[in-house]
């Protein structure tokens, strides 16, 4: 053979080999010492040709395999079998592992004897890694979606992560405030699982550390340590004892990813490799984050499902309790679910209700239609209604009094739930109470009529006899009879206002006449006060004369009653284009400002004065009801110790 040709071949091959960028190619002599080393090998394994040529090729094997004499085994096998294809881990000069798919051939001399070996390596770390990661991710996803018991599935996920993805995998969940529970542990060495659990018990997690599980829980961000150095270990622990322990774990690479639910970290998945076998890359980090996202979704769903089930259970128990009627209707008013109570109230069977045969509007009598519409508007705008009283038309056509309130349960569709209280008994009771008060006041007034009659007869007789002292006493008796009469009337009025039964007989009259009549009637009841009508004007109004007389009488009697040391009460009347205003001023004890509004409430009594002045605390309540119902207003202006002016207005034209 031409010497030149051989030289050319050698250069050609060398260049050819260098140009195969993705491949590491190197040759060894029979003893396994490196004889040539291409650029691809330099790139993949980190050694320059002058660093490795002449050294044993076992340098690039993993330490354990080097110890086991893997190199010699392989070369022997190749010598016997010819080329061998395999996939194995190597150690880069920088100390990280890589997976290579490689072929080794024997080199032979002219006589066919083995003169050395050539190894062609292709780095499949990333490819295999991605493949493994994808496989793992898909299996893990299947597991996660298989059950709602996520603690159990997370444990399975951790198990399948080992050893393909990591040597050690743990899942920690936040339970309660600041408490972490390790819900899953898997280790390539099963003995270490028990050991790891024990470790956690002995050494609870310090929640304040700036790395690891607590930190990820706080920040909600992943942590990634491709290569854990001894320096890092030393910085992460506080005592020598712990450092020794952590060192013994031989941690190489760590990924921590948060489980996020509603933007909050509720747990952490940790992947670790040990013994320098594998360093995690960004590909692994992305996979871990993807896994965490999927697991978070599952946890979120499971929690939502759990709370939905709990809510459903609570709701069902509530509906079944049957204390009140409950029905669910859609926006169109179709009732499609109801409980037994509601069925009883309206007289339709639950079957009929379930079939959607009952439309809520059809249950509403004509007289309540306007109120119903108002309530539905309120429901739409505010999401719920204030409870309102109405009646339902039952299946047999009869009407039943109810108290109802509705709340939207699905605002998007307008589906709402309505609670219905049967008011029949309450109404009956109210009616009986009203009847009772009606009868009672009639019964009280009957003897009072006789007393008044006899007293007046007696008054005449005494007058004929000319006994002045007896005459005064009789006149006083008359005053008290009248007071008693008005107390009885007031009681009856309160009952009527309460039940909404107060009715007015409107007529047109001159308010001036009313004022003077009442003054004439009240003036004789006081010896101290002069009732002065200062600017009293003639004005026709439309109203219930008896009721307005009651209002004015009430204000005038109060003025006298609460100004025992004064000598006058002043009345003023003014008028504008719409209203007549009447003011009754006394120069008595006055009223503290904080009582001004409350005065017109039912049974309101100012404590300080209730010992000094008798009364039921209903006069102003009745007066304000009467004035309000006439379309007017009533209020007080007063200063303690100076006196009070009670005003009321009445519209000139009645609505």
């Amino acid at each position: 053979m031409d010497k030149n040709k051989v030289k050319l071949d050698k250069e050609f091959y060398a260049r050819l080999l260098d140009s195969l960028e993705g491949y590491a190619v190197f040759t060894m002599d029979k003893a396994g010492l490196v004889t040539s080393w291409n650029k691809g090998a330099e790139r993949l394994l980190g050694y320059k040709d002058d660093e490795i040529i002449g050294k044993n090729a076992s340098t690039i094997l993993l330490p354990d395999e080097r110890k086991d004499g893997e190199q010699v085994k392989e070369l022997n096998a190749v010598s016997h079998q010819g080329n061998i294809k395999s996939e194995r881990w190597y150690l880069n000069k920088m100390g990280y592992t890589l997976l290579s798919s490689d072929t080794i051939y024997p080199l032979r001399d002219r006589r066919g004897a083995i003169s050395g070996y050539v190894k062609v390596m292709r780095d499949v770390s990333d490819f295999r890694r991605s493949e493994n990661n994808l496989l793992f991710l898909s299996e893990a996803s299947k597991l996660l979606s298989s059950s709602l018991n996520y603690t159990k599935t997370l444990n399975r996920v951790a198990e399948i992560a080992v050893p393909q993805i990591a040597d050690w995998c743990t899942v920690d969940l936040l339970v309660g405030k600041g408490k972490i529970e390790q819900v899953a542990v898997a280790h390539k060495d099963p003995k270490k699982v028990t050991w790891a659990k024990e470790l956690r018990k002995k050494q609870p997690i310090d929640m304040k550390t700036n790395s690891g599980v607590p930190h990820v829980l706080r920040t909600g961000k992943s942590e990634f340590y491709p290569l854990v150095t001894d320096k890092m270990l030393a910085a992460s622990v506080k005592t020598k004892k712990t450092l020794d322990l952590v060192r013994s774990l031989q941690i190489t690479s760590v990924i921590l990813v948060p489980l996020l639910v509603g933007g909050m970290a509720i747990g952490v998945i940790t992947f670790l490799t040990t013994g320098g076998r594998k360093r995690f890359t960004k590909t692994d980090l992305r996979m871990a984050e993807e896994l965490a996202t999927r697991a978070s979704l599952v946890i979120n769903n499971a929690q939502l499902y759990k709370s939905a089930r709990e809510n459903e259970f609570k709701f069902k128990s509530f509906v079944r309790s049957n204390i009140i009627g409950v029905f669910i209707a859609n926006k169109e008013g179709k009732i499609y679910a109801a409980n037994e109570s509601f069925s009883k109230i309206i007289g339709y069977s639950r079957e009929e209700l379930k079939q959607g045969k009952v439309i809520r509007w059809k249950l509403v009598p004509r007289e309540y239609e306007t109120r119903e519409k108002k309530a539905m508007k309120e429901l739409e705008q505010k999401g719920s209604t204030t409870p309102w009283e109405k009646e339902y038309i039952r299946s047999d056509g009869s009407q039943i009094p109810v108290l109802v309130t509705s709340t939207l349960i699905e605002p998007s569709s307008g589906t709402n739930i309505t609670l219905v209280v049967d008011m029949t008994e309450r109404k009956k009771l109210e009616q009986r109470k009203d009847e009772f008060i009606g009868i009672a006041s009639h019964e009280l007034k009957t003897p009072l009529t006789s007393i008044k009659g006899y007293i007046q007869i007696l008054e005449r007789i005494i007058r004929e006899m000319g006994n002045e002292r007896a005459k005064t006493l009789i006149s006083k008796t008359n005053t008290y009879i009248n007071r008693m009469n008005s107390l009885i009337s007031d009681l009856l009025d309160v009952s009527k206002i309460q039940s909404g039964k107060i009715r007015f007989n409107y007529e047109k009259f001159d308010f001036y006449d009313l004022v003077t009549e009442v003054i004439d009637a009240i003036q004789p009841t006081t010896t101290k006060h002069t009732i002065i009508c200062k600017d009293c004007i003639h004005q026709d109004i439309i109203g219930d004369r008896n009721r307005l007389e009651q209002v004015f009488t009430n204000l005038l009697s109060n003025a006298i009653k609460y100004s025992p040391k004064a000598d006058k009460v002043t009345i003023r009347m003014t008028r504008d284009s719409k209203y007549i205003t009447v003011g009754v001023t006394d120069y008595g004890i006055g009223i503290e400002k904080r009582h001004h509004d409350k005065l017109f409430r039912r049974f309101y009594r100012i404590e300080k004065s209730s010992n000094q002045f008798s009364g039921l605390g209903i006069g102003l309540y009745i007066s304000s009801e009467i004035v309000n119902r006439h379309g007017g207003k009533i209020w007080v202006e007063s200063m303690e110790g100076k006196g009070s002016t009670f005003y009321f207005t009445l519209p000139l034209k009645n609505k």
């Binding site: 007034k445 009957t446 009529t449 009659g453 007869i457 008896n546």
Partner: protein, 120 residues
């Protein structure tokens, strides 16, 4: 002599009205049991009937309506005597001639009766 018939189930009120009206010079008849009222009316032929609204057997409203429907009795002046707040309204509805609220003033009683049965 003008005749007044009082129909009320309360003895005290009947007694008071009787004293007042007899003192004024009226002939006063009393009907203590309203179920007998039509018999008494046809026998006594009163000028004025003082009638309570709430009575156990027959209501004042019913009595008034029947009296006012009957030609023989419709000229009898009916004055409703009641503690009912709406006595005025009821009286008008049943076409009674007048009303008097309990507890009444004896001067008002005299005035009202005098209006329908003037004394000569």
């Amino acid at each position: 002599m003008k005749k007044v018939l009082i129909c009320d189930d309360d003895e005290g009120i009947v007694d008071v009205m009787k004293i007042i009206l007899e003192n004024k010079g009226y002939k006063v008849k009393v009907c203590a049991n309203e179920s007998l009222i039509f018999k008494i009316i046809s026998k006594e032929k009163p000028d004025v009937l003082l009638l309570d609204l709430w009575m156990p057997h027959l209501s004042g409203e019913e009595i008034t309506k029947r009296l006012k429907k009957n030609d023989a009795t419709k000229s009898i002046k009916v004055i409703i005597i009641s503690a009912h707040r709406f006595a005025a309204k009821i009286a008008k509805e049943i076409k009674a001639d007048d009303y008097l609220l309990k507890p009444f003033d004896i001067y008002d009683l005299e005035k009202k009766v005098k209006k329908y049965a003037p004394l000569l």
